[in-house]
Symmetry: C2
Subunit: 434 residues, 2 copies
């Protein structure tokens, strides 16, 4: 050991920033520990993508192609820019145009409006950072993506719930909530509406076509004291198995002043690449780059070049098609198992998702599905794990609903899903029988 230090002097305890205390433990950590400690358990909780379908061959092909040109390889191994590699931003614009069913020109965006991030989570965190001071308000569907609830808490913001149904966030209820907030003198605190517009995590529902334009209208009309932005999270968009192919909420925002679109290649290709992108109103480009510059001055450049090559070489779309076939079978397996085991149970219901990775199941109101409730314990004994629905409701004035489960069909095989659902049914029946 080098250097002698005065270790006899006691050192004071650390004093953390306010931010540290905002950043509560994400419930996901508990679930991950549970999964590690109970390896024989079938997890219908994990939101990972299917390990077996990860694109080993496509990634290898793209890597070989990229590294066949030493100049291009070196460019990928060098620092990139804060906003991200130009090559990929060009591809992203084309990709987005394909998804929207229009030409790149019809998107009416500058390449500068596209920012590349470390997954779409970084966009969610940057937007929260950019717009929300402690006490500010983001309106969310109830239930919604629970990781984003943690992100909102992490900047000290308030998530205010808006009731949702099988067509997504209820726009009439959104308007009522805005009116209530205005009466309470809090409209100036409302900065953001968060919406997972395709196959929402956790419910699997999509925002209905007619609600999309209305949502933009409402945000504009209620931007009385300051701009209310919509953060549209389209993470699951490409995992569509049936049902309508909807344009985004962003596409309904003709003036491009209101909607921030975020998307990721984590679900449609590989989460290990950790590449997401966002398309933002022009006024947000510079502020977001300033924030991201401080955070990391650019996400991994190699991954951006790799993904640019994947898109250029047409390696992405065939993979998505393969994923759709594979996940569709799994979704059908889960729905069939739900019908088989729960179809005859009173007061048990679930949505039939057209895409995504989740089935949202509701039990009789008296059944508490939480970590400390009887069902989670019993399910663990039976060897199956799920995400308690209460995590997906914002903490706050109203009590979260405690009788739901988020079931994922992403990770398990068709057989695993069948076994897991049977185990879950035994646990539910045991608890119902008490």
């Amino acid at each position: 050991m080098t250097g002698k230090t005065c270790e006899s002097v006691p050192t004071a305890t650390p004093r953390f920033s306010q931010r540290r205390w905002f950043a509560a433990d994400q419930a996901i950590s508990f679930l991950m520990r549970q999964a590690v400690e109970n390896r024989n358990v079938i997890s219908l909780a994990a939101g990972l993508v299917d390990q077996e379908t990860l694109p080993v061959d496509a990634t290898r092909a793209a890597f070989e192609r990229l590294f066949a040109d030493p100049e291009r390889a070196r460019a990928a191994l060098q620092y990139g820019t804060t906003a991200g590699a130009e090559r990929l931003r060009v591809q992203v614009a084309q990709h987005l145009a394909r998804l929207e069913g229009c030409s790149v020109a019809e998107l009416h965006i500058d390449p500068d409006q596209i920012l590349l991030t470390t997954g779409s989570q970084q966009t969610l965190a940057l937007i929260a950072d950019l717009l929300l001071d402690p006490g500010d308000i983001c309106l969310v569907a109830a239930p919604t993506y629970f990781v984003f609830l943690g992100t909102l808490s992490g900047v000290g913001a308030r998530a205010v719930p808006v009731p949702a149904d099988e067509d997504g966030m209820r726009v009439d209820a959104l308007e009522e909530e805005l009116a209530r907030l205005e009466r309470a003198g809090e409209l100036a605190r409302v900065k953001l509406i968060y919406v997972v517009s395709y196959y929402e995590n956790p419910t699997g529902v999509s925002l209905a076509a007619e609600r999309r334009g209305e949502l933009v209208d409402i945000a504009r009309r209620w931007s009385k004291e300051n701009r209310i932005f919509i953060l549209e999270d389209t993470a699951y968009r490409e995992l569509r198995y049936d049902g309508p192919d909807l344009p985004s909420v962003w596409r309904c925002d003709g003036s491009q002043e209101t909607v921030i679109l975020t998307h990721t290649f984590s679900k449609s290709f590989s989460p290990g690449l950790r590449v997401g992108f966002t398309v933002v109103p022009r006024e947000l480009v510079r502020p977001l780059c300033d924030l991201k510059g401080n955070e990391d001055f650019g996400s991994a450049n190699l991954n951006q070049h790799l993904l640019a090559t994947i898109l250029e070489e047409g390696l992405h779309e065939p993979h998505v098609q393969k994923l759709r076939r594979s996940y569709r079978l799994k979704r059908d397996a889960m729905l069939a198992a739900a019908e088989k085991h729960f179809g005859s149970l009173q007061e048990v219901s679930w949505y039939r998702p057209h895409g995504g990775l989740y089935v949202w199941m509701s039990l009789p109101p008296e059944i508490d599905t939480g970590f400390d409730g009887p069902l989670f314990q019993r399910a663990t004994e039976e060897g199956v794990m799920y995400v308690p629905g209460e995590l997906c409701f914002p903490a706050g004035d109203c009590e979260p609903e405690r009788n739901h489960l988020r079931l994922s069909f992403g990770v398990q095989s068709v057989e695993g899903i069948a076994v897991g659902m049977a185990r879950l049914a035994r646990a539910v029946q045991a608890v119902l029988a008490r």
Copy 2:
């Protein structure tokens, strides 16, 4: 265009968070624009690594090795964890032990204390976020790494300068500054001391051996009101060309309560992989993971697996040796050119760095090297660019020194350095002659 929205309704202007206003434009953006707009200019400004030495072959070899095993490839393409891939953390511990000249056991760390980040910049930003509320104080050498000054501003913290000499931050001056802050009733605001301990950006100086233990002692002794941490940035550590091979400040902290070590593979291998790591006191593991969980819930997993393979296969060390040879020649070329063109000039001096990528040059006090001063303009006309030294001094009570230049020998060839330095000399002589 789908959806009709009420675009006739005017929308209010955005109201950003306090954070947005803290995040000022980084000066680096201006430099990058200048570089793009003046492509015939020889940049002695850019802090990039040498494009020609980027490890194309080593990266390809590691990729092929990793992807030869489909299980491992799939693991790399899946989500990772917030703290980072276990495989790489094991390798990082061994790498750190090699750098410190001891065994892994002698490091006395748990693998949990190692966190993998998106470059070391993410660590700098996370630590600022974790410890510093608006108005809190971080002590820094003057001059210091200018990007970190932006990061401190980004959380509303104050950077308080401590004079430095050719042995790095002056520990006597540090102690005086702490005493002054205590008298001013501000000791409780001091949370952090930032030190670039090897070949500091911008000066190229290293913290002298005897100052390393003293620095830890001072931080402990002045941790009266709350813990004062040391953030030790070792980004350039492996780029050593001659001079002593010093243990880290972290290694002088026997109780591991004070020093946060950060390192990156950006300088020693490839910035495009964007993999950095930090070793933190045990009490900081959980708070940092909570913050990072909100920010991105993990940096790119593929890159971590790739780098783990690079280290396992012994591909890293030969590359570093090659870099050392290459950069040493460039440093010598820059120092020779400095001697040739500036040796006879009164009041022009520079440090002779033992490593890193920079030479710090001081001109007569009356010469303003800033973007708006006469030299920068004249240098641009001559076709050479540098980083004005004033950027590396914290804004605050005292005036920054305006007569220094940061010159980088990283990007240019030996020939480019010679030409660039000759151009710079013409610009300096022209301004001196006025």
